[in-house]
Structures are given as structure tokens and as C-alpha cells.
């Protein structure tokens, strides 16, 4: 048997069949044909791997989830309507590099505080100039996450515009790598209040508390926000 005949014979072998007779004799003498036999058997064996079909229900559900939960672009600014958008979120593994900003509706300049890996509690206050203002929390994540659990708790006569009477909101959202903007249209009915933002993904959870007060209560020198404190990251 020559090499051409040997390779034709190999082509007719089923996966896993050992060569016999003249083919075995040829393979015993020809390194190239032995190599060819191994390659051919490997392709046949891998080709015999059966792959289950996905259920149509799963595919539909997966598509639905993707378009419902993943925002294609981060929302640049909140609507002033009742339905505020939270395009991104919090994450599994924060770098704990977060920034919170208070955007003054009427003021040309913005006040902002950078928070970078602060872990010690601090007396942090957001001073509101107006009855209703937007508090922006920018969270930097080192990774993308599809389903972070986020919750907001409000205390002390604080409300989110459009969510009157709701002291707690929770939802599942996606997190993109880098900066994630969370915009909270805060309505303060009293002199002060508290916002607690929590996130959880897998085994990690994180939390930030923001104390909100009217300008006169907050004082001019008080720090503005409290850092994220990893709970069990």
C-alpha cells in the first residue's frame, strides 16, 4: 500500500477505528501517514460531538432581557419628568473610585467631590440650594456586569421626583466598564435627609450613604458626600 491508497483508506475509517492489515502495515512505516491518520480521526471525533439545540423560549427570553436591561448608551442626563433613568449602575468589583456631584440647577459652576478609596466614615453632606435638585453619583467600575442589583433607600422626608411616598426602590441593571452615572432627582421636604445606595453582584456588595441638607444646615465647609464602603467585597 502506498501513501495515496493509505489516505483513501483512512478516509473510509470510522472515528476511533484502529487500522488493520495493509493500512496498519503502511502506517507502521510512514510517519506522515500516521500523522494524517491522527488528524483525520481527530476531526471525525470532534465532528461527532453533539450539541444540544437551545430552547426557543430561552432565546426569546435572552433577547428580551438583553434589550430590557442593557442600556446601549449611557443616559447623559436625567429627564425632568417623573420617570428618571438609571442607565448604569453599580458593580461586582468596584475599584472603589467613585465620585459624587451635586449639580446646581441655577449655578453656572458645578460643585463636585472626588472619592477615591476612602474607607473611613466621614460626615458627608450634600447641601441643597433648592427644594428639588439632582444628585449625581458617578461610579467607576473596573469591569462590565450584566445584572447588578441596585437599591436606594430614602429617609428624612426625602423623595425622588416621580416616586412620591416610596422609601425604597430596587432594580436590576447593567454596569459598564468605567464611569456609570446614577442621577437622583431629589426632593427635600424638610431640612435634611439621607440617601443610601446599595449594590450587589455575586458575592460583593457596596454601599454609599449621602446625607442631604439645606444649605443653611449643611454649612459651607462640610464635605459633600460619603465614600463607598465595601461591605463584603
Amino acid at each position: 500500500m502506498n501513501c495515496i491508497e493509505a489516505r483513501q483508506a483512512i478516509g473510509h475509517l470510522d472515528s476511533g477505528v484502529r487500522p488493520e492489515g495493509p493500512l496498519a502495515e503502511h502506517l507502521g512505516q510512514c510517519e506522515l501517514c500516521r500523522q494524517h491518520y491522527g488528524d483525520a480521526m481527530l476531526l471525525k471525533t470532534l465532528g461527532s460531538l453533539k450539541v444540544p439545540e437551545p430552547s426557543p423560549q430561552f432565546l426569546e427570553h435572552a433577547l428580551q432581557r438583553a434589550t430590557d436591561e442593557a442600556a446601549p448608551t449611557p443616559a447623559p442626563a436625567p429627564a425632568r419628568t417623573a420617570k428618571w433613568r438609571i442607565p448604569a449602575s453599580l458593580a461586582a468589583s468596584f475599584l472603589i473610585a467613585a465620585a459624587a456631584m451635586l449639580i446646581w440647577d441655577q449655578m453656572p459652576e458645578q460643585q463636585a467631590i472626588e472619592i477615591v478609596e476612602q474607607r473611613t466614615p466621614a460626615e458627608n453632606v450634600v447641601a441643597l440650594e433648592a427644594h428639588r435638585q439632582e444628585v449625581r453619583i458617578v461610579i467607576h467600575s473596573n469591569d462590565e456586569h450584566a445584572a447588578a442589583e441596585v437599591s436606594i433607600e430614602l429617609a428624612g422626608n426625602l423623595e425622588l421626583e416621580g416616586y412620591a411616598g416610596q422609601q425604597r426602590l430596587a432594580w436590576t441593571t447593567s454596569l459598564k466598564q468605567g464611569a456609570n452615572l446614577l442621577v437622583l432627582p431629589v426632593v427635600l421636604h424638610n431640612e435634611s435627609g439621607e440617601i443610601r445606595v446599595r449594590s450587589q453582584f455575586g458575592q460583593a456588595s457596596h454601599e454609599v450613604n449621602v446625607h442631604v441638607a439645606r444649605k443653611s444646615q449643611a454649612g459651607r465647609t462640610a464635605p459633600l458626600v460619603e465614600p463607598f464602603a465595601p461591605v463584603n467585597a
Binding site: R34, Y37, L42, K50, V51, E53, P54
Partner: protein
């Protein structure tokens, strides 16, 4: 028409034709139906977030495969960090294989077939994630090495040497050499 609705419709129209193929790739990469579903879900999340980047492509499938591959690597590394690399879910595949549309073979043939499926899956899982992707794309799905190089963003020469090692390992694991190891050849 609502812009949000249009966006979702366009996304579904672009991805739907490829979903089954991508699921098959995900299954070959992960080795289990549950992990394949997780991987495909993550892929769809990411593809939707990045829709503006690829919606204009005439042939988006290579883009999707590349994202799938990168997600697979990410998930593999995370799993290795959290659970250990050997804690796979191969057992769940027995059920998945049982559920495949088959013309009901005899129990003996069925058992033998299941065992062969398990051996193949285990051999693939024994490869690293990069090697598994190469084997899946090139040896199973039939992409050329040039295409694989573009999808995986790995130089062609690196792929060739990697492929050589992969083949050798798989042949050993699956016992695909023409003669038993103890047979001395001339």
C-alpha cells in the same frame, strides 16, 4: 415610531439569525448547556450595549464571535478565581445529551455514545480557554486559521504552533493514535 422600540427591533433583527450558531459555539466553549446559556446571555447584554459599534457591519458574525470568545475568557478566569478550574459542570451534559433529538438507539449504543460524548467534552475542557476556542473555531466549526486569527486577535504563527500542541494533546487524550503507545514502530 418610538426610537427605543426601533433600536430593539434592529438589534433583534441583527442578532436573531446568529443565535443558534452562537449558542452552539458557547456550548463547545463551555461544555455545558447551563454555562452556554449564561455565556449567550452575557453576549447579548454586551452586544446590545455595543450595538452602535457594529450595527453597520455587513457581516457582524465575526464581531459577535470575538465578543463571545472574550467573554468566555473572562468568565473562565473569574470561575477559576472563585471556584477552581476543575469544578466544571460536565455532569449536566449527560442530561443535555439525553435530550438531543436522536432516533432512539439501543441502550448499549446509547451508553457507548454518551460515554464518547463525555470523553470529547472532557478532552476539550482539559484544554485552556484559548486552545479550546481555537479548536472550536478551526477544527470543529471549520473557520480558516486566517479567520480565527482575526476573531481571536492572535498572530497566525502563534495559532499554528498552538494548534499543533492542541492536536497532540487531544490525540493523546482521546487515544487517536493508530497504535497503542506501547507498540514500537519501525
Amino acid at each position: 415610531m418610538d426610537a427605543d422600540f426601533e433600536l430593539k427591533t434592529a438589534f433583534e433583527r441583527s442578532t436573531r439569525p446568529h443565535l443558534t450558531t452562537l449558542y452552539h459555539s458557547a456550548y463547545r466553549l463551555t461544555g455545558s448547556s447551563a454555562d452556554a446559556e449564561d455565556l449567550l446571555q452575557e453576549l447579548l447584554f454586551k452586544l446590545f450595549r455595543q450595538f452602535d459599534q457594529w450595527r453597520g457591519l455587513d457581516h457582524p458574525k465575526p464581531w459577535m464571535q470575538r465578543v463571545l470568545y472574550n467573554l468566555h475568557i473572562d468568565l473562565y478566569r473569574k470561575r477559576r478565581r472563585t471556584h477552581g478550574v476543575n469544578e466544571r459542570t460536565l455532569d449536566s451534559d449527560a442530561q443535555a445529551i439525553d435530550e438531543m433529538a436522536n432516533p432512539e438507539p439501543s441502550p448499549a449504543v446509547q451508553a457507548e455514545g454518551d460515554q464518547q460524548q463525555r470523553r470529547i467534552l472532557e478532552a476539550l475542557q482539559a484544554l485552556g480557554p484559548e486552545q479550546r476556542a481555537l479548536v472550536t473555531l478551526h477544527l470543529i466549526e471549520g473557520h480558516t486559521l486566517e479567520e480565527v486569527s482575526a476573531i481571536l486577535d492572535v498572530p497566525l504563527g502563534t495559532l499554528k504552533s498552538r494548534l499543533h500542541r492542541c492536536k497532540a494533546q487531544l490525540k493523546r487524550t482521546l487515544q487517536l493514535e493508530p497504535f497503542p503507545e506501547n507498540v514500537r514502530l519501525a
